[in-house]
């Protein structure tokens, strides 16, 4: 039978209770998912709020991506809790000095916001489908429209106001939700590896690049699957966003590490022993060199050379995949790495990956991949692609209208 607890071997001296590592790889998946949500929402906002036309091909898809991933954000937490049936205790009786107490409210608010925004965006489609489709699907669309069948220009203007307001509200909500995850780690004074004021900011920026990278990969993949040409200005725009935020992330992560080393507080010897020993591959090689510096260099080269066409798509997609990997490694190195450095500052533990366990590899991978399945299903029900959106009411969207206004001005 699978043992209840898995213990970690160690070197040096560690407190006896530390030999069971509390937060497993599910807690790596959790900030990874919230990060993807925040990043995807950022792209969606670039179009819906800031009216950046070049992101129109992924504007709606970004929102669906954010929703699909957000729905699964609580999953790793629920699987990790000793008493998942008590998961709502922090909501009923929040203990406000705890960062985690905020999660239920923040996540709940954000999910509702996403659902509302998606509903407003797809209301015309639902109304149209309810009229056109026979059978159960048509009836489902009719129910989903919630009796709001008015597609007049006035009604559409009203919808757009809502979409704009929700998209604006969603920016601080998405980023707040992820910045908070950084605070969960950064605010703890018990672990030198986590205890950093920069942690929430680092989490936030890495979140944005992971979400942008995910959208690049999924958009290019979807174009291949749908056998439609990839919109080059869109991909190039996403590459610019990725480049900018990736540069910030790299600088911030570098500063954070430099701070730990430069301050050289108690425990620095063991941290240095750890990062120059076991962490050299996952931290310096995989997270920094391969996942951060390489895509930045490649993107810089492509922007400088004005690369276009298939080479641009292949290059940007490769960079996006590397960034996705880098952010995963960053989450791993923070969550697992922080726990591998003993609180005694005199020992190093080694987290054991378990394959089949409630918090094991199979579970973690399943939770990480499940949002993709949901997203696929959602895109079947609610087509997000511009060229298939024949249901679009012939009238500029919020972003378009703003662009037109700017041009007229």
């Amino acid at each position: 039978m699978e043992p209840l607890v898995h213990t970690a071997p160690y070197i040096g001296y560690v407190y006896p209770n530390e030999t069971v590592i509390p937060w497993t790889m599910l807690i790596v998946v959790y900030p990874y998912l919230t990060g993807l949500v925040a990043g995807a929402f950022t792209v969606s906002s670039l179009y819906h709020v800031f009216g950046l036309e070049r992101f129109k091909p992924v504007g709606r898809f970004a929102l669906l991506t954010a929703l699909a991933f957000m729905i699964f954000v609580p999953a790793p937490l629920l699987l990790h809790l000793g008493h998942p049936e008590r998961a709502f205790n922090p909501v009923w009786t929040p203990h406000w000095t705890s960062a985690i107490a905020v999660f239920g409210y923040a996540a709940g608010f954000y999910v509702i916001l996403l659902i509302l925004e998606v509903w407003f965006m797809y209301r015309p489609y639902l109304v149209q489908q309810a009229q056109q489709r026979p059978g159960i699907l048509g009836r489902l669309c009719h129910v989903a429209a919630l009796g709001s069948n008015d597609l007049s220009e006035k009604a559409m203007r009203y919808d757009e106001k809502w979409i704009f307001a929700l998209a604006v509200t969603g920016i601080p909500a998405a980023h707040g939700l992820h910045g908070y995850v950084g605070f969960v780690f950064g605010s703890l004074k018990s672990r030198e590896w986590w205890s950093s004021d920069l942690m929430p900011v680092v989490f936030l920026f890495s979140a944005i690049i992971s979400g942008v990278a995910l959208l690049i990969v999924l958009y290019v993949l979807s174009c291949k699957l749908r056998k439609v040409p990839v919109d080059l200005p869109c991909v190039k725009g996403l590459a610019y966003v990725l480049w900018g935020f990736a540069m910030f992330t790299l600088v911030l992560e570098g500063l954070e590490f430099a701070n730990i080393v430069y301050k050289g507080r108690e425990g620095i010897e063991i941290i240095l022993e750890y990062v120059t020993g076991r962490l050299i591959i996952p931290f310096f090689v995989l997270q920094f060199a391969l996942g951060a510096v390489t895509p930045l260099a490649l993107l810089t080269y492509m922007i400088w050379k004005g690369t276009t066409g298939k080479a641009l798509i292949a290059g940007v997609t490769t960079c996006a995949l590397l960034v996705l990997f880098s952010v995963w490694m960053m989450r791993w190195n923070v969550v697992i790495g922080g726990q591998e450095i003993a609180k005694t500052a005199k020992g190093i533990l080694e987290y054991q990956i378990v394959v089949l366990h409630r918090e094991g590899l199979v579970t973690a991978v399943s939770v990480a991949v499940a949002p993709l399945a949901l997203l696929w299903f959602m895109t079947r029900l609610l087509p997000p692609w511009v060229e298939t959106a024949t249901w679009q009411v012939a009238k500029p969207r919020t972003g378009d209208r703003r662009a037109v206004d700017r041009r007229n001005a």
């Binding site: 209840l4 607890v5 213990t7 001296y13 560690v14 407190y15 006896p16 209770n17 530390e18 030999t19 069971v20 509390p22 937060w23 937490l77 990790h80 809790l81 000793g82 008493h83 998942p84 008590r86 998961a87 205790n89 922090p90 009923w92 009786t93 929040p94 203990h95 000095t97 705890s98 960062a99 985690i100 107490a101 999660f103 969960v184 703890l188 004074k189 018990s190 672990r191 108690e266 726990q339 609180k343 005694t344 500052a345 005199k346």
Partner: protein, 285 residues
């Protein structure tokens, strides 16, 4: 070590049940008020709910006590009876990875600046005892020239500013008025944030029960006038326990006698521990 008058621990469970019941009676609010988690907000001082001027039970008033713990590292012989007593008394899993209390051994060998540190959970020591259920320190430095060596018993510091309480999202873990940090096992969600937040490694996760656990100075005993199991088991008086409100209590005498030598662990954290040590050197954290 089991309470001789209550080998099954029935009285303890009854006591805890009544503790929860008193909270309900006191607050009269939500159903969750039946948990210990709300008791910290109860109007204990002004309006004792259960008669006889006592709270949380009629036999015990937690506003009248200020418990504290002392450790005299110069006396500890590393026999580990305290660890075994605690495991039995508090139903701690009998293995080398879960402890409410443990003992660290610091050995300075000749010519070495840093001490060699181990505890009973070290594989060498477990091998020496022959079982994860029994604990002893292996005679691993028998052939070496030892400059200095000492033992340091460790346990929950029941901090005045406990970081574990700060991070608990539900309030399932809380500070009582008599200065002990308790965990309501019926309300804990098992997120283990408190385990992360404790810089002393005092908390551990009970996978079977799905909740966090730690030393609570045998609250079920001290509220009946008994000593914690580890204190009672210590053959050399290295563990001292008592009420700081009582001038004649062992802890008060210990603090008085060692006025300028008493230390706490990691004072820089601002946690303000309530376990006071004598005989540590700077390497102990």
């Amino acid at each position: 070590m089991t309470n001789p008058s209550d080998p099954s621990g029935k009285a303890r469970r009854e006591f805890l049940r009544r503790l929860g019941g008193a909270a309900v009676a006191c607050t009269g609010t939500l159903t969750v008020a039946g948990t210990l988690g709300v008791m910290k907000d109860a109007p204990a001082k002004e309006a004792p709910p259960s008669g006889a001027g006592s709270f949380p039970t009629k036999d015990y008033d937690w506003t009248k006590h200020r418990w504290a713990f002392g450790v005299d590292a110069t006396k500890c012989i590393g026999c580990l009876r305290c660890v075994e007593a605690c495991k039995k008394e508090n139903d701690v899993p009998p293995d080398a990875h879960h402890f409410n209390t443990w003992v660290e051994r610091y050995v300075y060998l000749e010519g070495e600046d840093k001490p060699r540190i181990d505890s009973q959970h070290d594989p060498v020591n477990i091998e020496a005892s022959g079982s994860e259920r029994e604990y002893r320190f292996a005679n691993r430095y028998a052939g070496a020239k030892v400059d200095k060596a000492f033992f340091v018993p460790k346990l929950c510091n029941q901090c005045s500013n406990p970081p574990c309480v700060q991070v608990c999202p539900t309030g399932a873990t809380y500070k009582t008025k008599d200065r002990v940090v308790l965990i309501d096992q019926k309300y804990c969600i098992g997120c283990q944030y408190c385990v992360q937040a404790c810089p002393y490694g005092a908390r551990w996760f009970n996978a079977k029960k799905g909740v966090s656990q730690k030393c609570y100075w045998c609250y079920h005993r001290i509220t009946k006038g008994l000593q914690p199991a580890c204190v009672e088991a210590c053959p050399v008086g290295a563990r001292i326990f008592g009420d700081r409100n009582d001038r004649q209590s062992p802890i008060k005498i210990f603090m008085r006698n060692n006025k300028y030598r008493v230390q706490v662990l990691r004072p820089e954290t601002g946690n303000e521990p309530n376990v006071f040590y004598v005989g540590l050197d700077s390497e102990v954290a």
